[in-house]
């Protein structure tokens, strides 16, 4: 290609000079920098979603409270769910995919670095698009699963929120599918020599299964969202009851995606926990193949259980019984994982550092969430629990006690790898304690409230129902969670002001490849691509194990971690503007369509500008030379 590049237009040249500063971030294709951007953006949205939750809980603290109007309340609970699921937990998982997966498999980057950057820019701009309703006539307010036909204007509150919902989620879906494909190919094709599938670290395995789920489940919701957007913007009849449209079609399409989505949210956290527990127990993961296969089975079964969200829609006894049984089956692989985690700690030497506390918290809370799930896997029992606070309790034990605890565990665990600084232990323990107490106080009583007949998604309730006391307790719990989160933020800022340390290449005595390289990770990750001889092959360079399984440390030579002054010339992919342009263009076009029904001309113009920008970006991308050096 070098021969041809002389004739290329100027804009196609890859930038070379921006390695720092804003342009350095905008044009980066480095998986670590992209991961860091993902992380900070997702934490921002996590705080936003948390703020929404605190307002929701404040409204419900007392019977007949009037802190927010019903319409605002409905927007708050809808956006809280959307923000937490699509803008916080999923991207936080992707953060770890970006940061960790290439390091764990011994790669220099992901398979498609520019596509990776594109995923991020679509995510950021799509997140803003989803939230744009707040300042443009109301955010989405039909609940996160947006059951038709409440999503149509004649039944809704009349706000434009659902336009931002459908277009925002469509745009975010592109990001997820692109990310899923990227990590799928990366894990299949970029592993270091010797790293067979059954030598892959568990986190990478879970990232692999999650990617498969993303690639296969997102298309289904995409089509449902296209149908919804067409109904709202062009007046098609998909979900209009008067034209014969069936609201259950939306529900089925939504949950065909929605249940795999639940595993998209939880599997990465399970992967993190499966890394943290062995490290801090000084033992290998108990039953590695069983953990892997149960993960695969969970991912697979995610496709066979979706209708358990719909037991009360009148599917009939045969369908209800079938989905009840498939749902209960999920408990088997989940149980296997939990037993193996306990087996990992059994006989170990458990060090209660913050990441370990969060992982143990994960196991403890996830057991509760899993067990309460069994009670609504049984349809007759679910008839009393469906759409009550019992479900709210269950899903928060799984997604907060599960996914979020796992993610915090990962944040404390891998923070030093990318910053060369350790998050403060004392603040970390306080953070964990506040979150653990707050979480149980906030969501524990909801089990009771649900069984006491309190439906979810109500903005108010009367004092005569006897729900007030536990609602107040729950609200106090949510404030404790908020306090814990503030402690975490303080910890982050406190840590960022510390001096960078050079002795943190392997602070926890880790087992996987990412700990074999310096912290922070150099741009090229591995000076030499490692050769893998087995599971935990980095651990095997530090300890030898005799036949009985007793281990002795192998004396290490002088640390060769300090390679910073060495000149290393490793060829890395060049920077690029085009992911940024393409990603922003896509969201701009989404924004144009979202405002189309309100401002026809402006909306159409914006949409066309966005589409043109997307095509410009994509075209430039395709003809961009591989390396900036080509021009010299």
């Amino acid at each position: 290609m070098a021969a041809n590049s002389g004739s290329l237009p100027r804009f196609l040249e890859r930038p070379t000079s921006y390695t720092t500063g804003v342009w350095g971030w905008i044009t980066t294709v480095d998986h670590k920098k992209i991961g860091i951007m993902y992380g900070f953006t997702a934490i921002f949205f996590f705080l936003l979603g948390g703020l929404e939750a605190v307002v929701i809980r404040s409204q419900l603290a007392f019977a007949g409270n009037e802190i927010v109007s019903p319409d605002i309340y409905n927007q708050l609970f809808t956006m809280h769910a959307l923000t937490m699921i699509f803008l916080a937990i999923m991207p936080l998982a992707v953060t770890f995919f970006n940061l960790i997966v290439p390091l764990q498999i011994g790669a220099r980057d992901v398979a498609f670095p520019r596509l990776n950057a594109l995923s991020y820019w679509i995510y950021l701009s799509g997140g803003l698009l989803l939230n744009a309703g707040w300042i443009l006539g109301g955010a989405a307010d039909s609940g996160w699963f947006a059951y038709a036909p409440l999503t149509l204007d004649q039944y809704g509150s009349g706000g434009r929120g659902m336009d931002f919902y459908s277009l925002g989620l469509l745009v975010l879906g592109v990001s997820s599918v692109a990310g899923g494909l990227n990590f799928l190919v990366t894990i299949i094709n970029m592993r270091a020599p010797g790293m067979t599938l059954m030598r892959m670290p568990v986190f990478t395995w879970m990232a692999f299964i999650t990617s498969i789920l993303l690639v296969t489940a997102m298309p289904v919701i995409t089509i449902a969202l296209i149908e919804l957007a067409l109904d709202r913007i062009l007046g098609t009849q998909f979900f209009a009851p008067g034209a014969g449209g069936d609201p259950l079609l939306w529900q089925h399409l939504f949950w065909v995606f929605g249940h795999p989505e639940v595993y998209i949210l939880i599997l990465p956290a399970m992967g993190i926990v499966s890394e943290v527990l062995p490290t801090f127990s000084k033992k290998p993961l108990f039953g590695y193949p069983f953990i892997i296969f149960s993960g695969i089975f969970i991912g697979f079964m995610g496709w066979a259980v979706w209708s358990h969200h719909m037991f009360t829609v009148g599917m009939g006894p045969v369908a209800n019984a079938t989905f009840a049984i498939t749902t209960m089956l999920i408990a088997v692989p989940t149980g296997v994982k939990i037993f193996n985690w306990i087996g990992t700690m059994w006989g170990g030497s458990i060090d209660f550092k913050t990441p370990m506390l969060f992982s143990i918290g994960f196991v403890f809370l996830f057991i509760i969430g899993g067990l309460s799930g069994v009670s609504h896997a049984a349809p007759p029992s679910d008839y009393q629990q469906q759409d009550t606070y019992y479900i709210v309790a269950h899903l928060h034990y799984v997604l907060f006690g599960g996914a979020i605890f796992g993610i915090f565990s990962g944040i404390y665990y891998w923070w030093p790898k990318f910053s060369g600084k350790l998050l403060n232990e004392n603040l970390g323990v306080i953070h964990f304690a506040l979150l653990f107490i707050g979480m149980n106080m906030s969501f524990g009583p909801m089990h009771w409230l649900g069984m006491d007949g309190m439906p979810r998604r109500i903005y108010t309730y009367g004092a005569e129902y006897g729900w007030e006391f536990w609602n107040t307790v729950s609200t106090i719990g949510s404030y404790i969670i908020a306090l814990g989160t503030i402690v975490f933020i303080v910890n982050v800022f406190y840590t960022m002001r510390q001096e960078r340390r050079t002795d943190l290449a392997d602070p926890w005595d880790g087992r996987t490849l990412e700990w074999s390289i310096p912290s922070p990770v150099p741009e090229y990750n591995f000076k030499e691509i490692p050769i893998v001889n087995g599971l935990d092959s980095f651990w095997d360079t530090k300890y030898s194990t005799d036949e009985q399984g007793y281990m002795t440390p192998i004396p290490q030579g002088a640390s060769d971690d300090n390679q910073e002054d060495e000149e290393v010339d490793i060829h890395m992919p060049g920077l690029s503007y085009f992911p940024f342009i393409t990603g922003i263009g896509l969201s701009v076009s989404g924004f144009g369509f979202a405002i189309y029904s309100q401002f026809n001309v402006v909306g159409l113009t914006v949409a066309i500008v966005g589409i043109l920008a997307t095509f410009f970006g994509a075209y430039g991308w395709c003809f961009e030379p591989a390396d900036p050096e080509d021009h010299h």
Binding site: P193, I212, T216, V220, D246, L248, H252, V256, W303, M315
Partner: protein, 98 residues
């Protein structure tokens, strides 16, 4: 790991043309079948069979899947099987088959 058995015996251009002829004939049969009143009862199975045949031939020969690394078959088949499963499950749940 690299177990690529790159089969050099890709079909030749003539073979592609023959395949195209077969595909055209099958399409013609498909269209013709719908005009035969005697086959009306068995129409849907016949049509499905014929179009599955076309599908397999295009994927196997034009897309070379028959001659490629099995990973590609796995990737494609997992998507396809899930797709067929979702379609059938939905039809079953909505009582289209009953």
């Amino acid at each position: 790991m690299a177990t690529e058995h790159h089969n050099t015996e890709h079909p030749s251009s003539t073979k592609y043309v023959v395949i195209a002829l077969i595909l055209s004939v099958v399409t013609a049969i498909e269209v013709a079948v719908v005009y035969v009143e005697a086959l009306a009862a068995a129409l849907i199975p016949i049509l499905l069979l014929l179009s599955v045949g076309k599908f397999v031939v295009v994927v196997g020969y034009y897309m070379h899947l028959k001659f490629e690394h099995k990973l590609f078959t796995i990737l494609f088949a997992s998507g396809l099987i899930l797709a067929i499963y979702v379609l059938c499950a939905l039809m079953l749940l909505f009582g289209v088959f009953i």
